[in-house]
Every structure is written in structure tokens, then in C-alpha cells.
Symmetry: C2
Subunit: 343 residues, 2 copies
Amino acid sequence: MNGNISIKDISKQAGVSIATVSRVINKNGRYSKETEKRVMDIIRKNNYVPNLVAKGLRTQKMKNVGIIVPDITNEFFMKLVYEIEKNFFSKGYETFLCNTDEDEETERKRVRMMAMQNVCSLVYVSGGMSNIEHMIKDLPTVFIDRIPDETKGNYCMISSDNIQGGFLATRELMECGCENILLLTSRKKISAYSERFEGYVKALVQGGREADAIHVVYLDQVNYRTAYETMSRLLDAEDFIYDGIFATSDWLALGCYNALTEHGYSIPEEVKLVGYDDISITQFNAVPITTVHQQIDIMGKTVVEQLLRILGGESALQEVVKVPVYLNVRESTRGRKMPKKYE
Amino acid sequence: MNGNISIKDISKQAGVSIATVSRVINKNGRYSKETEKRVMDIIRKNNYVPNLVAKGLRTQKMKNVGIIVPDITNEFFMKLVYEIEKNFFSKGYETFLCNTDEDEETERKRVRMMAMQNVCSLVYVSGGMSNIEHMIKDLPTVFIDRIPDETKGNYCMISSDNIQGGFLATRELMECGCENILLLTSRKKISAYSERFEGYVKALVQGGREADAIHVVYLDQVNYRTAYETMSRLLDAEDFIYDGIFATSDWLALGCYNALTEHGYSIPEEVKLVGYDDISITQFNAVPITTVHQQIDIMGKTVVEQLLRILGGESALQEVVKVPVYLNVRESTRGRKMPKKYE
DNA sequence: GTGAAAGCGCTAACAG
DNA sequence: CTGTTAGCGCTTTCAC
């Protein structure tokens, strides 16, 4: 295909059958030391590269898994992917990464393409409700931060503790004296967002606030620009009553931050701000931003563990695997107390 | 393989031969409206997903290309990848992305794996000198910011204008009055770095500086931490003479920035700073950082154009395709003049 | 110890 | 218009 020789060529050169070459390559079956050497020499001399596609076709199993993420330019997702890949590689699996660009149509296309490429399983990160379940059927799949439509099937769900995350973020704002706390989140029907909302409400209730303490702004897109524009519009209107904002993603928090400062609000003195994900930019911002840290190393490890369990024939766990989160407190809620340092 | 049916199953259900099914699926050859309907119905009912692996094995061409990057958590690389993928998708190609983690051994492994997966071509972004040429042989390859070892072969090289980038960055520092300009760069033998060095020297010479005006610090790793630690060590030593620093990557610039501010230097008053890549964090930094912007959209487009040329049978361009760069001037060289805004 | 042969899912002549 | 057949590169019985 790409100028490569095949075992057939090798067998001819070595004067043995292709079966023997196959045995030598895979080190199974019997063959003499002598033929082994002859075959291996030819392989080395020609830089032979085995064709995994053909092998997969024959053995009916490929050791590669597709990873689907909504945005490859988002540092949080890529750090998570990095951890997932690391764990898969160590188990001898290949990974194929693909980007849905936050678009449901693209999402469906990419999932379908992964299935066509014969991946042995799928990791599906925080996608929308694209109704992909019918496409993946028996393909073992781990969903991260997204509950599958149907529970039947080889599905497994892993999630960081989003309720706890929403709770910690909101409680921090309350502890810092915020009276009117705004939740800035996504309109998307992703469990991650609805759970962070749940945590937000829980913290308010636990702090003795009434039902009218709940203030939510929903965004159509989860990105800096949308957050910036929406907040700017909010600030341009007369009555901006909020002294605390919990944004369910760091990029949203950064959008808030810039809209607020440009409207003359100082952070954290007048408005306190909490983000989510702990991407590195939150530490470098003019006022470092308090944010909820997700333990991606544990998540990555868990993803691979669970997938290997399913691949090993065990049935998928029915419960969601929850990974704890913690709050990284910085100046956007507490002021210039802690040293600015990046680790 | 993954619980999927094959055209054989379809042919049985439809009461036609597999050849007919194949024809219907690929819409070539002749078949009656009636059989078409019967086949398509079965396909839809069963959510049939064609096996591209088998198809590729048979047709001896897969429409997918491997993309190899040194660091998937680096926003610059991923924005470039995003552009490359977008262009490939629009031409009906799939892409497989993989990460070398800046490690040459990993790099070789990943390239080999791509070859085994039967990709039809490769895009190799800014890799080290891992001597991969013998592994890819006739595989059409575009190198970005890295000159191939051997010029024979279907290689093509695309690069942003790194000499110009180094020149613009250094000239900016000189124009802002810097007397002693330090170049902070990588030890790696990558053309991108050596060319930025070249531009740095060119600007110094053109500005009438003597040979002793050249000051370079080489780093083993291209990341925030290494830059931060190296600069801290430099600042701890007695005589820090620099009033201008050109870092050949934004992350290095950020490392510098924090080391400098922690040592009590103010930017840009005492030391001016220029980075490279224009990642978004440079705009959000407490003091927004002047940086060289690479036009990744043009680069992505060019990559695909060139690869399709080669794939189309034309021979690879021998010259390097150069994409212009420009400087994004911010506060780290000019002070608080411009409005802080993100676009 | 080694070879012959079948077959993974699919396409592309070649017949009819 | 449709079926038969060979074969892509590889593995794996089953003989010898």
C-alpha cells in the first residue's frame, strides 16, 4: 500500500511459506532457529512494517479505541485525553482521537467513522445528546460526563463529582460573603452541567437561602466569546445585582472576568468569581481565578480500567463511577493573599 | 467485529449476491430501483456500518492521514491540527492524531504505528530529529517546521516564516530601547528554533549591534517549568544585565514573566518581553504579552493542498513553503496603551 | 518444523 | 441488471 513489503514477499525471499513467516513474526508455533534468523534478517533489511489492518480483519479484533472530544483546543479535554492515552498505550492499545467541534451533526459523523474504522471500543467525552447509541450498539463504550440514552449495552459512565464541584464553588462564594450569586452555565443537556447546577442549589439551600436566590444564565455555546458577550449585555442593562458568579467552565469565567473589568467592576472586591476545570490560564490571569479542579489522572486511569473490564468479558458497571473534585482557591474570591505560583 | 453485520448478511436477507449489495452501497455499476430499495431498507433497519478497514485492504487505498504532534495539550499545536483536520475532512479524508510527548522514542513508535495502520500519508508537526525517514519511505509526508533528513522521497515541507518571526520579535525589543537582548530558546535541533535564532541575529546586525550583543540561553525542554526555573537561576546569580527577552515560545515567555516578576522586575518598565505563537493565554496574562502570530489557517490549508498534490501523483515541491507571520504588539513591550481585548 | 488452504469484509473484473 | 470469482495481507487449523 505505502511502498511496503508483505509477508508474502518475505516468504519468497526467505524461501519459506508465508505461514512460517507469520509464526516467526508473532513468535508462536514452532520454527527452527535458522529460519527465524533468515526471516528476521530480511524483515530488518527491508524495514518491514506489519499491516495491522489486515491482521485486524483476520483476527476480528483490533486493539484500538476511538476517543471523541468536543474541542481539541481546550486544554482541559486534552489533558484528560493525555491521561487516557497514556493508560491505553501501557496496555498495548492504540487510540484515535477525534474532534466534534461541539456540533451534534459532526459528532454523529465522527462516531460513525470510528465504527467504520473498526475500533474495538469508544471513549466519549462530554458530548451532546446526539443519540449515538444506535450507531455503537455492542461497541464497548465509556461515557465521560454524559449519561447514555439507553442503559442496555456495554456502556459505562465515569464522571467527576459535579454535584460536589458545584457545591464547593457556590459555598466558597457564600463564605466570601456573596449575597446574590449568579450561575453561568450551558444550555446543553449534559449531565455535567445539570449536576453542577444541582450542587449550586444544594449549597444555597444548605446556607439557608430562599428559592429566589437561584439566578441562572444559560449560554448556547460554551466558549469565551459567548460568555463575554452575554455578560457584557447583562452589564449594559441597568440593574446588575450580582456580587458572586459561578461559571461552569474556566473559559466562561474568563469571559465574565473581562466583561466585568471592562465595565469597571473590580474582582474580587465587588464581584467574586469561581470557574471550573482548573486550566492553566486561570493561574496566569491578571487576577488568578478560583476554580474547581477535576482529577484527570484518576479519571484517565478509571476509564481504561473500566474499558478493559468490559473488553475482558465482564459486564459493565451499572452505577456511575464518581471521581472526587477539589477547589483551588485563588485571588478571584479571596484577594491577594496567596503567592502566585504555577505548578 | 463490533456486533456489526456485513454485506454478506445483507445479501442473504435481500436474496441478492454480495456484489450487488456492494454496487448499491457504492452507487456504481447497474442495479434496479427495486433491488436498491430492498438492500437500502435492510441496511437502514440494521444500522449497517461499512467496514472501511476491509475496503481499504481490498482497494489498496485508505483515505486517512496520520497527524503527529509533540504535545496535544499545547493550544498552538491543537489549533493548527484543527485547521488541518478541517481541510482534510472537507476533502473526504479521515485523520488520526497522535502525541509524541516531545519524546524521540515515542515519536518513532507513533510513526511506526501510523504506518502499520495503513494511513495514506502523514503530517509531521515540529518533531525532533528522530530519524523517521526510513520508516515512512514512500509514504507521502508533509513536515511542518522540520526539515527532513533525506530530500528524496515524497516529502514536502511547510513552515511559517521563522526567520521573519525572530526578526520582528527582536526588532520590536530594539525599537523599544532594549540594550541587552536575551534569546531564550530550545536546545532541540529543529529548524523552527534555529531560524528564529537566525532572525534574532539578523535584527541585531541590522540594528548595528556588534557580535557580542548575542546572548542565548538554551533549554532542554520547551515548557513553562523549565523556562521558569532556568530564568530563576539566572536571576539569582549576581549580574542580570538583560532589559529585553525574546522567548521562542509563549510558554517560555510566561515562565520568564513569572520568574521576573517574582524577582521584583516590572514588565515592561525594566524588562521587555516577546513570545512566540500567540496562544490565548498571552492575552490574559496580568501584563499581556507581545508575541509572534503564526497564520495557522493558511498553514493548515497549505498542508492539505500540498499533500493532495502529492497524492494526486505530482512530485513534491522541493522548496519549503513559507507562510508569513506578524507581530501582535501588547503591553509587555509597549506598556498600557492598547485596550485589553480578546478576539 | 513447515506448507497448503481457508477466510476475515470488501471490490472489481468477467460472465451471463 | 446480476452472480461468480479472485484476492488485498494476514492468521490459523490441519496435514505431512
